[in-house]
Symmetry: C2
DNA sequence: CCAGTGGTTGCAAACGATTTCAAACATTTC
DNA sequence: GAAATGTTTGAAATCGTTTGCAACCACTGG
């Protein structure tokens, strides 16, 4: 039961070569073929593998990326995480996830990224504190905002074409001849929430209609359901509701079901994100598709670009969204 | 635009002290109060923070844990990841996620954990390859299997009380007076799938009943729905179905809806996991609660125990599951 | 035979921190 | 005032790897 991990020195001694030779056997460099195979064989019996900590130290780069993420209350978040982890693995990097749930303070995760000398930090939750962001910019750590916000200077961002999505939803409702459209947003307004509303409102205004506005009463499904029920029990009940997220839309559909409203005849509903559940038989939700794969691809591109040319001006990418028409609209 | 990150030496020079002093200011150690504040202040203006790579090197520990995970097709997986990340953060460790989607080969992720000198590797997907597992045991890297399998020697595991869950489901069906119970499992049988079936089958057998067995035709929701529809269209259609996961149960409920079967009168359904969606109005699924928080807590305990006493015999923990009765059973 | 060439090798200096050790200093006790 | 004790301090060794450099080797061509 030998606890100590074998090091490059052990392998060198055992194989009767210098440490440089061992290093070159693993990381490449001129080395005769027979010596290389012998070294690898010895390394195998000793269970030796180079320590990435020591490598990062001397190479001055870690090939790791930190993702700062909050509560993943939306299935979209886990899809995103999975796709991101995979894309990073393909580019030979590891993903470190730093949860930021503690009162939505991201700085902890950001500072962890700094300590780890990550290649970049990707932020997918909450609001970026200004001082942490400044620190990143000063030390040249690329910061990429994902899907949510872009209110801090010097950082890159990829976000959905939220306004356009709102406009598409409004257009769809108008085509369907709706009379009393409404907006159903999240409890605490966020960047994307507000943009989606803005687009929806603008398009409706262009048709001379002022949509009503409602909000979910809380974070959990029950609170959402309650708020949706209240909205649909009013005398001037809306006949078309655009929801900030699919999750809200599910609540609306369930409330409609409980109130025996026929969808889409009495009530049309549109969501946002196109999470897998939206396609289920129970919902068949018309929604705006926000393609995760595309988001991740853009992030990877930004990452490479930034790493290649650190001085670049902030990059902002809008991901187009497209309306997936299912059975909750007419 | 100074690209080079400042090091402990820069701070020492700037503050007019030795590097030891700076180290002590950050990591603790005897140091006069005024000197400490001065150092921290200088470090602040220089944006200095200790490099964790260098720290791990000299301290011989990384305070990181690697999670090897596959496709997160079940919401349960993302809940698990989130809870785990948080628990680890609380214990001052970071979470590295290594995706193992490529033809379900885990060894890549496991070797990454080895390279990273992680404190432990947690495996939540697929089957552990024997050689990778052996390597971990030899070098003393703790391996913890989560929720799925325990067929490899020398590794710890925490799994649901799957058999017991199956028995509870069977008992519930029997109490409700079902006549033709059935099992609905995943396409490619897995450890937990099989255990759940075994428990269900045993309890039914004790009552002199042999349940029918069906399988989902594929991984995606559509394939599950098709298989469920076929199952419910048979002349000897089951009147009670126990599903290996909630996700399968949703498919069954939707198929039942499409066939105009009344739940729970014509058909009772029980799932497994109690994912958040199971509580939704659209499903109100009776299911076995597999408490994520508990799973994570056990993992953390095992982790600490293993780190404190590496020579320990393999630890196996069963997490009790409890039946949550909603509206899909009578 | 000798200079030139090109591929292998190993030494030793980094990389950025911590920590042991002994010296220096300050404080208490007799 | 001296000895004993305790607290700060910095020099230097260390962690495990990579890599620039120079030495060495075996050839090749003149």
């Amino acid at each position: 039961m030998n606890r100590r991990r074998s090091t490059i020195k052990d392998v060198a001694r055992e194989a009767g070569v210098s440490v440089s030779a061992v290093s070159r056997a693993f990381s490449g460099g001129s080395l005769s073929a027979d010596k290389k195979t012998r070294i690898l064989q010895v390394a195998g019996t000793l269970d030796y593998r180079p320590s990435s900590a020591a490598q990062s130290l001397v190479r001055q780069q870690t090939r790791s990326v930190t993702l700062v993420t909050g509560r993943m209350h939306d299935p979209f978040d886990s899809q995103f995480l999975e796709a991101l982890a995979e894309a990073l693995a393909d580019s030979g990097r590891r993903l470190i996830v730093a949860p930021a749930s503690k009162q939505a303070d991201l700085s902890g995760g950001v500072y962890q990224a700094i300590d780890d000398r990550s290649d970049a930090v990707i932020i997918a939750a909450g609001t970026m504190p200004l001082d942490a962001s400044r620190a990143c910019v000063r030390i040249g750590l690329p910061v990429i905002l994902a899907g949510r916000i872009l209110d801090t200077p010097g950082v890159d961002a990829v976000v959905a074409a939220n306004c356009d999505g709102g406009r598409q939803a409004a257009a769809m409702f108008l085509r369907g001849g709706c009379q009393r459209p409404a907006w159903f947003g999240v409890e605490r307004p966020s960047f994307s929430n507000d943009e989606r509303l803005a687009g929806f409102h603008a398009q409706m205004a262009a048709a001379g209609i002022e949509p009503a506005r409602f909000e979910a009463g809380g974070r959990d499904d029950e609170a959402i359901f309650e708020a949706a029920s209240r909205m649909l029990s009013r005398s001037d009940r809306p006949d078309a509701v655009f929801c900030a997220t699919d999750r809200l839309a599910f609540g609306v559909l369930e409330a409609a079901g409980a109130l025996r409203l026929a969808v889409p005849r009495d009530l049309a509903v549109i969501g946002f994100n196109n999470v897998p559940a939206a396609a289920r038989r129970s919902y068949r939700l018309t929604t705006l598709d926000y393609p995760v794969a595309r988001v991740v691809a853009e992030i990877m591109e930004i990452l490479e670009a930034r790493l290649a040319a650190p001085g670049l001006a902030p990059i902002r990418r809008r991901i187009p969204v497209s309306l997936i028409v299912r059975e909750t609209t007419r």
